[in-house]
C-alpha cells in the first residue's frame, strides 16, 4: 500500500550501509555520521499491539530496536549490557512494575535517557514523568514523527554529561546530573574510547570554557579523572600529607578552573581513604577488591552507605550531635578501609574517570567541616549527616535525581558522607545523589559498577537539601530500592525497598543499608562489610522516633566473622551488637518487608561482632532496620520501627561507640569474610 515511505527509508538505509561497508576503521565515524540511524532503542510495553507497532516505527526510523514486554526483562537486559542501549522507551502502566519505577532504576543504574509513554495524558501523570526524570513523555497513540526525534535526548544527555565532566564548578548540578547519561559512546560503542579520552583531556584543559557555558546552568561538578587525581596525589605527597592544605595543593596542581573548594573536598575524601587504608590492615585487599571491580561495587556502596547512613542519621539530627562526635572519635575514625570514600578515589580512579564522567565533586565546602568528623565516622557511618542532608534524603520520593542534588548541594555533609553516598547512589544520573562534591569519587565508582552505588547514593541523597525531615528516610528509600535492585538483588527487593529504605526511618543510613542487605545474594561478604549496618548504630540515636517495634533483640547469635575487625571492641561489640542484633532480629520478625533494617543490623552485627555473641538487650532499641533475618528484605519501609522510642540514647551511644570500631570493619564489605546474613541465627 504505501510503500513509498518505506521505500524511502529502505533506500536510505541501504545506501548509507553501503557507504560504510568495508570501512572498518571509520566504523565509528560512520556510525556517527549516520546518527541517529543505528540508535539503539529498548522499548518496553506490556501491550503486544503497541509493542509491535513501535518496533516497526522505530525500525522505519532506522533505529536498532529491541523490544520487551516486561519491565524486569528490560532491566536485566540493560544490566547485562550496560552500554548496549542509547535510549529506553517505556510504557507507564505495566503489570509487573510501574513504569516510573523502571524509570528510576534505569536512571540510577544506567543513567540512560528514558522516554515514557502512555495513553494517559493527564497532567499529573506527565508531571510524574518529569519528576521521575523522564526526558520525554509521549502520548499514545505514538506517531512515527514523534519517534523520529528521540535521538535528541541521547545527544542532550551526552552533551550535559560532557559539560558536567568538564566543569570545575563548585556545586554539582544535581538536576543536570540526572540526565547525564553515562559516559557512553556517542552513537556507538566504537566511540566510547574516544569519548572518554577526549573528555578526560577536556577535563584538564578546557575547564574555563565549559564553565562559561555552564555558568548559566547548574553548577558543574568537577570530575576527578585519573590524571587529575594523580596530579593531586603528587601535590599532596610533595607537600607532605600533614602539610597538604587545599590552597597549596591547588597551586601545585596548577589546573585551570579547579577551585580550592574542589581540592578541599577531594582532599577530605582522600584523607578518609588513607585512614581507611591504614585502619584496615586485616583486609587490605578487600578494600581494593571491592572498589576495583564493578562487581565489588556492591561492597563499596554498601560500606559507603553505612557510613553515609550514619551520617545521614546524624545529620538528621537523630543522632545527638554529641553522640556523633563520640562515635566519631571512638571508633569511627577507623579506616576500615571500606569507607567508600577513600577507596574509590584511588582505586576506583579508573572507574571514576573512565567510566563515569560524572564524577562529580561537589564543592566540598561543607566537607571541610564535616570531613573532619566524618573521617572518623565515615567509615560507613554517616554520622555527621546534617539535617539538611537528611532532608534531602527524605526526598526520595522525588526522582533520585533530586536526591543527588540534595546531597550534593548539601555540602553540609561532610564530604565524606557524600562520597559514600554518592557512591552508592550514584550509578545513575538520575539518582545523582552524589552530586556532592565529596562524593565525586565515590559516585563514580559506583556508577561503573552500576549497582551498589545506589545504596550509597541513597544515603547521600538523604542529607540533601530537600529538607527531608525524615532525613534520610525518604531519600534513602528511593535510592535504596533502586540500589538494591541493582545490586543484583532480586527484583522484588527493589520494589520492596522503596518503601523500605527507610526502615530506619530516621536513619537514612540505615535505609541505605538495607538495600545493601538485600543484596546479600551476591554479596555475602558485602553485607558484612557493608557498612550500611553500622548506621544502625547511629540510628540508635535516631531511634527516638522510630520505634523499633519488632526489635526484640533476640540474641541473634551474631556470628560475625568479625575476624576482620579487631576484636578490641569485643566488649563493646556485645553491647552494640546486642543492640543491633535486637534490632536486626526483631526486624526479622517483622514482616520481611520493612525489615530492611534487619538486614542492616545483621550486617552490623557481623561486622562488629568480633565477640561473636550479641546479647540481645532488650533495652536496646532494636534497630528495626536491622532485620537480621537473613532475608534481604531491606525494605526500610517502616522507619518507625527502627527505633523504638524507648531506646536509650545513651545505651545506644555507648553501644555505638564501642561498635564504632567494630563496625567500621563491618562496614566494609570486605571485612566480613563469610558473614552472610543468613548465618545469623535469629
Amino acid at each position: 500500500m504505501n510503500s513509498s515511505i518505506g521505500k524511502a527509508y529502505m533506500s536510505t538505509a541501504s545506501s548509507s550501509a553501503g557507504r560504510k561497508a568495508g570501512d572498518a576503521a571509520a566504523a565509528a565515524a560512520a556510525a556517527a555520521d549516520q546518527f541517529p540511524a543505528g540508535l539503539r532503542v529498548l522499548v518496553v510495553d506490556d501491550d503486544p499491539t503497541c509493542l509491535m507497532i513501535l518496533e516497526k516505527m522505530l525500525r522505519t526510523c532506522l533505529y536498532e530496536v529491541t523490544k520487551c514486554n516486561r519491565a524486569e526483562t528490560a532491566l536485566s537486559m540493560l544490566r547485562e549490557n550496560k552500554n548496549g542501549f542509547d535510549v529506553v522507551i517505556s510504557d507507564v502502566h505495566m503489570p509487573d512494575m510501574d513504569g516510573f519505577k523502571l524509570l528510576e532504576h534505569i536512571g540510577l543504574e544506567m543513567d540512560l535517557p528514558v522516554i515514557m509513554m502512555s495513553a494517559d495524558d493527564g497532567k499529573h501523570v506527565v508531571m510524574k514523568g518529569v519528576t521521575h526524570g523522564a526526558c520525554d513523555y509521549l502520548i499514545k497513540p505514538v506517531r512515527i514523527e514523534a519517534l523520529k526525534n528521540i535521538w535528541q535526548h541521547v545527544v542532550r544527555k551526552r552533551k550535559n554529561e560532557w559539560k558536567d565532566f568538564e566543569q570545575s564548578g563548585s556545586v554539582e548540578e544535581g538536576d543536570r546530573q540526572l540526565k547525564q547519561s553515562e559516559d557512553a559512546d556517542y552513537s556507538s560503542s566504537a566511540n566510547e574510547g574516544n569519548w572518554k579520552s577526549s573528555k578526560r583531556r577536556k577535563d584538564d584543559e578546557d575547564e574555563t570554557d565549559e564553565r562559561d557555558d555552564t555558568s548559566s546552568l547548574k553548577k558543574p561538578r568537577v570530575v576527578w579523572s585519573v590524571e587529575l587525581h594523580q596530579q593531586f596525589v603528587a601535590a599532596v605527597n610533595q607537600l607532605g600529607i600533614d602539610k597538604a592544605v587545599p590552597k597549596k595543593i591547588l597551586e601545585l596542581m596548577n589546573v585551570p578552573g579547579l577551585t580550592r573548594e574542589n581540592v578541599a573536598s577531594h582532599l577530605q575524601k582522600y584523607r578518609l581513604y588513607l585512614r581507611r587504608l591504614s585502619g584496615v590492615s586485616q583486609h587490605p585487599g578487600n578494600l581494593n577488591n571491592s572498589f576495583m571491580s564493578p562487581q565489588e561495587a556492591t561492597f563499596g556502596p554498601l560500606s559507603s552507605l553505612s557510613g553515609l547512613d550514619l551520617q545521614t542519621l546524624a545529620a538528621t539530627g537523630q543522632l545527638p550531635a554529641q553522640s556523633l562526635v563520640t562515635l566519631q572519635s571512638s571508633g569511627l575514625g577507623r579506616p576500615t578501609g571500606k569507607s567508600g570514600i577513600p577507596m574509590p578515589l584511588i582505586d576506583q580512579r579508573n572507574i571514576f574517570s573512565f567510566e563515569n564522567p560524572k564524577l562529580r565533586f561537589g564543592e566540598g565546602q561543607q566537607q571541610h567541616v564535616n570531613n573532619n568528623k566524618q573521617m572518623n565516622l565515615l567509615h560507613g557511618i554517616p554520622t555527621t549527616m546534617e539535617p539538611k542532608q537528611l532532608a534531602g534524603l527524605h526526598h526520595g520520593a522525588q526522582s533520585m535525581g533530586n536526591m543527588n542534588m540534595q546531597v550534593a548541594s548539601h555540602g553540609s555533609q561532610s564530604s565524606q558522607n557524600n562520597p559514600l553516598l554518592m557512591q552508592m547512589a550514584q550509578p545513575q544520573a538520575r539518582g545523582q545523589m552524589l552530586n556532592d562534591s565529596s562524593l565525586g569519587h565515590a559516585p563514580r565508582l559506583l556508577s561503573p559498577m552500576g549497582q551498589p552505588m545506589l545504596s550509597n547514593g541513597i544515603a547521600a541523597n538523604v542529607p540533601t537539601r530537600n529538607g527531608i525531615q525524615e532525613n534520610i528516610r525518604a531519600p534513602s528509600y528511593n535510592p535504596v530500592p533502586q540500589t538494591s535492585s541493582m545490586l543484583n538483588f532480586p527484583m522484588n527487593h527493589a520494589s520492596e525497598l522503596p518503601g523500605n529504605s527507610y526502615p530506619l526511618g530516621s536513619t537514612p543510613g540505615i535505609s541505605s543499608l538495607t538495600p545493601k542487605v538485600a543484596f546479600r545474594e551476591d554479596v555475602n561478604s558485602d553485607i558484612k562489610g557493608s557498612v550500611g549496618f553500622l548506621p544502625s548504630y547511629d540510628i540508635f540515636n535516631d531511634l527516638d522516633h522510630h520505634k523499633p517495634q519488632n526489635w526484640e533483640l533476640q540474641n541473634v547469635g551474631m556470628t560475625f566473622d568479625a575476624s576482620q575487625h579487631s576484636n578490641s571492641l569485643q566488649g563493646n561489640l556485645n553491647h552494640a551488637q546486642s543492640v543491633l542484633v535486637q534490632q536486626g532480629f526483631s526486624s526479622g520478625q517483622m514482616n520481611g518487608q520493612n525489615r530492611s533494617a534487619t538486614v542492616v543490623s545483621k550486617t552490623m552485627f557481623s561486622s562488629g561482632d568480633s565477640t561473636g555473641h550479641v546479647n540481645a538487650q532488650n533495652g536496646n532499641q532494636p534497630l528495626n532496620s536491622l532485620l537480621v533475618d537473613g532475608t534481604v528484605r531491606v525494605k526500610s519501609e517502616t522507619p518507625t520501627n527502627l527505633y523504638p522510642d524507648d531506646f536509650g540514647q545513651e545505651d545506644l551511644m555507648s553501644a555505638l561507640l564501642k561498635q564504632q570500631d567494630v563496625i567500621a570493619p563491618a562496614e566494609h564489605e570486605f571485612d566480613f569474610d563469610g558473614y552472610s546474613l543468613d548465618n545469623i541465627p535469629v
Binding site: 518505506g6 503486544p48 502502566h93 497513540p141
Partner: protein
C-alpha cells in the same frame, strides 16, 4: 470480479470506515509502515490487536462479574484496551474506553457494565469491518493486483 473493481471497492470501503469514525489517522500510519520488507504488517498487528482485545474483554467481563468489583483492575484493563485500540486506529473502540474509564473512576457498576457492552459492540463492529477490508485486499493480491493507496487527505 475484476481486479479494478475490487480495488475500487476497497478504496470506497476504506474511506467509509474513516468517515464513519471506525478508523482514524493512526490506521493510516500503520498502512504507511507496511512495505515490501513487511507486506503483512497491518494484518499482523491487527490480528494481534484482536487477540489481545478479546482477552481483555474477557477479563473485564469476569472482573465486573465479581461480588466486589476491583475497579482498579478494571480500569487497568480498560486503559490497556484504550492504548491498543488507539494505536491501531480503532477510534470508536477507543472512545468507548474513555467513557468506560470515567465510570470506573466513579466506581459505578451499572455505568461500567453498560460501557463494557458498548466497548464490546464497537469492538466487534470494527473487527468485522477490518476483516472485510483484509479480505478485499487478499482478493486483489490473489488476482494479481496491487493494493491501492488510500488518499484520505487527513
Amino acid at each position: 470480479m475484476e481486479v479494478v473493481q475490487i480495488q475500487r471497492r476497497l478504496v470506497d470501503y476504506t474511506k467509509s470506515l474513516f468517515m464513519e469514525g471506525f478508523l482514524d489517522g493512526q490506521f493510516l500510519q500503520l498502512q504507511q509502515l507496511q512495505d515490501e520488507s513487511n507486506p503483512d504488517f497491518v494484518v499482523e498487528v491487527v490480528s494481534l490487536f484482536f487477540d489481545d482485545s478479546e482477552k481483555l474483554l474477557n477479563e473485564l467481563t469476569i472482573a465486573l462479574d465479581q461480588p466486589n468489583v476491583d475497579f482498579k483492575k478494571v480500569d487497568g484493563h480498560v486503559h490497556q484496551l484504550k492504548g491498543s485500540s488507539s494505536s491501531i486506529g480503532a477510534q470508536r473502540v477507543k472512545n468507548a474506553c474513555i467513557a468506560f474509564r470515567s465510570f470506573c473512576e466513579g466506581q459505578n457498576i451499572e455505568g461500567c457494565l453498560a460501557c463494557l457492552q458498548q466497548v464490546k459492540q464497537e469492538y466487534y463492529l470494527v473487527k468485522n469491518k477490518l476483516e472485510t477490508l483484509f479480505r478485499l485486499e487478499q482478493q486483489i493480491v490473489a488476482s494479481g493486483g496491487s493494493i491501492p493507496m488510500i488518499e484520505m487527505g487527513f
